[in-house]
Assembly symmetry: C2
Homo-oligomer: 259 residues x 2
Amino acid sequence: MQKPLILVTNDDGITAPGLRALVRYMKEIGDVVVVAPDSPQSGMGHAITLDNTLYSKKVTIDLEHGGQEEYSCSGTPADCVKLALQELLGRKPDLCVSGINHGSNSSINVIYSGTMSAAIEAGIEGIPAIGFSLCDYSWEANFEVAEIAIKKITERALSHGIPKGVVLNVNIPKTNGEALKGIKICRQARANWKEKFDKRTNPMGKDYYWLTGEFELLDKGEDTDEWALSNGYISVVPTQFDLTAHHVIQDINSWSLNE
Amino acid sequence: MQKPLILVTNDDGITAPGLRALVRYMKEIGDVVVVAPDSPQSGMGHAITLDNTLYSKKVTIDLEHGGQEEYSCSGTPADCVKLALQELLGRKPDLCVSGINHGSNSSINVIYSGTMSAAIEAGIEGIPAIGFSLCDYSWEANFEVAEIAIKKITERALSHGIPKGVVLNVNIPKTNGEALKGIKICRQARANWKEKFDKRTNPMGKDYYWLTGEFELLDKGEDTDEWALSNGYISVVPTQFDLTAHHVIQDINSWSLNE
């Protein structure tokens, strides 16, 4: 039997430890091709490169673990997936996995996430896709705690199939050595960022800002990704790219916009 | 009575004719403050500036029509909204409008849209928000066909209130002079882009790509934005930023991931 072809990408760049861990896990499940940004692309959301050129380079990384076909790309995570599917892969992949992101993509963070935009791009193209993120921003984060769960979620996704129009957003809590409690299927918690701009003056006397902020959870539900993560569970949110708020169509029809 | 405060932004940049038209229409409804990118940001999706500095400049444009408070910003559309709400506006705006985009943001385009990401960012912050787009990429596009409809949708949104967690994605068909047929509340059509990469070689001998593609409509429904637009109607899609695919949570729970 042919092994499944798995496209691996991310938003932290092709040399990020999170991606290298994901590649190792995926190689136990299928044939791996990596197409990932040549530089960090955090917070890129679903940006694509429209008015600029894209470069792609075949690279060799991590021969210690056997090596595989790998390409770096000058574009965004969504660009990487588009380029992989149209130009770089010999056949349609059976799965696209993105990550493991260095940092959370739970709740509202999904909107800003380059990791998830790569998975969503694959989903739009009809490829089953999963984004994996570890809630630890450190470059030295311990990804191994999640190895078993990541492989299990991936294998189940391949055998059951992910429903059409849906990609999985998987977040893994940061642990201090204790075991993970399990895996929970969740909804996206309602939350936002309370921005604070750090205003400074550059050496030329011009004011500029750094965007900083504090995460604000607005949701007390126990069926959310935030609840799962703060209680030691891995969260899996089925995430869709039909953004229609079907439940309010009737309400807005009552505005009688044609009168 | 105090006039409503309306934040106007876009993704085509602060000098784009589409934004100037929207500013003119909004000044008939409320007090306008403009915070918009200093350069085109099409296809930026929901990108935000995390690892770089943000500049903002008070500018004066279009004094011929009376002038108003305006700021250009070096960041993405979502950055503009964050900066406006936290730093530049004296009070919380009653509405945020984004556009008028030069080009369609219907169906799957909403995912890549800088215009809509600005509106969604405002929505996340609890500000009623609407993105307006004209299905005409030309810089000389005729925005006036939609003036009455844009003002009507804006006024109804202010008087009825947009449901929480929802922003409006309004697309206006390109017309060749004939009257618009009306306004339809729609769902987002299922569609994608069939990418084609135009591969070239630069003067230094290095290969590069341009992303091009063809729009592929996969949806025959007559309740979609694409149907409305190709039949001469303005489409209004209520759009949400809770991406949870609630309808498949049960299905994925049957994977028994904890066994």
